[in-house]
């Protein structure tokens, strides 16, 4: 195979083994089942009074994080196998940035809202 056709080369040509790890049908089916379960759970929590009202957003956030984890593992096949350690590390860094951006923004803006409330709004002493 000449150099200009290098991009056509089969993967994993060293040693002849293909690197095309194929997830099984059952993996996707389990992922789908768990995702449906968590989705239905989220909608159900909102429509019933099972959980104490102010706790519902926390419950929904927990279910959402769980479902995103399910998607990562069963659909995107993120594991800690050697081929995947770099992917997992990059994800950890991404989550750090996401956490800083979201929680940092909400935290700072919430404080600005309470401390710099315009005159006329009864927001306690100092406003």
């Amino acid at each position: 195979m000449s150099a200009e056709h290098e991009y056509l080369e089969e993967d994993g040509d060293v040693g002849g083994a293909s690197d095309e790890h194929v997830a099984k049908f059952s993996t996707y089916l389990i992922g789908l089942g768990l995702a449906v379960l968590l989705t239905v759970g989220s909608f159900w929590i909102v429509n019933t009074g099972v959980i104490y009202g102010p706790g519902i957003p926390v419950a929904l956030a927990t279910l959402a994080v769980a479902q995103m984890g399910i998607h990562l593992v069963f659909f995107l096949h993120l594991t800690t196998a050697p081929d995947n350690t770099n992917n997992a590390l990059a994800l950890a860094f991404g989550l750090l940035i996401v956490g800083l951006v979201v929680f940092g923004s909400v935290w700072i803006m919430w404080h600005l809202n309470t401390n710099l409330m315009a005159a006329g709004h009864p927001m306690g002493p100092g406003s």
């Binding site: 060293v14 992922g31 909608f43 909102v46 659909f75 990059a90 996401v98």
Partner: protein, 219 residues
């Protein structure tokens, strides 16, 4: 298996490279990582940067969610029935995208095309539902210019919808390329990136339907 291989297999069963002469690839001992792993890693980095962009939009929405400027609040405009249908469409679409990657691995042209078509149709259904929601809001005068809350809402959800639309174009391209060029190694790497993108869109949607729509009806 030679005696040395057996020793490594015992001391380092998961090929993480702790046994000295690891045979894991991409870690020095076993040679460079395969092209497929490198391509997947690069695209994963792109997806993570996209997640960071979405996190900025989520943060903006969270900050502005209460700034309704006497306009409608989230409780008044969210229709959970439609959101449930949208969620179902996108989840099923993600599942069929997984089926398509199995079909590609089995080199079955007909199965690949059929599963990708179902994936695409479910994606189109999702987009149509979203457009009908946006159009209804706009018709009532509750467009993105009505309040800061609606600006944040349209930007966040609209950005996801735009991603799905671009994904649908990519999906059509992949169907054509897989059909015309067959299961070449480079086409399969391209297809791997597409499946990652499509699953990633569903992950973003999970955050949107939980933290925007469901939480919004309770605030």
């Amino acid at each position: 298996m030679s005696a040395a291989d057996t020793t490594i297999a015992v001391r380092d069963p998961y090929h993480v490279g702790h046994a000295g002469e690891s045979r894991a690839r991409g870690h020095g001992g076993g040679g460079p990582a395969s092209r497929r792993v490198v391509v997947g890693y690069g695209f994963w980095l792109f997806l993570l940067s996209d997640i960071v962009i979405f996190s900025c939009l989520f943060a903006a929405y969270a900050v502005l969610a209460g700034a309704t400027a006497d306009g409608p609040s989230s409780k008044q405009i969210y229709d959970l029935n439609r959101v449930a249908w949208e969620t179902g469409c996108l989840l099923a679409s993600s599942f069929f995208c997984g089926m398509a990657s199995i079909a590609v691995a089995r080199r079955s042209q007909i199965l690949t095309q059929v599963t990708l078509l179902i994936t695409g149709l479910l994606g189109v259904a999702f987009i149509l539902l979203e457009i009908s929601e946006f159009a209804a809001l706009h018709a009532k005068g509750d467009g993105p210019t009505r309040s800061a809350f609606l600006t944040g809402f349209f930007t966040l959800v609209g950005c996801h919808g735009l991603h799905v639309t671009v994904g649908l174009l990519w999906l059509g391209t992949m169907m054509a390329q897989l059909f015309a060029k067959g299961f070449r190694a480079d086409i399969r790497r391209r297809f791997l990136c597409f499946t990652m993108f499509w699953h990633f869109l569903d992950i973003i949607w999970v955050a949107i339907f939980s933290l925007v729509y469901l939480v919004g009806t309770k605030l």
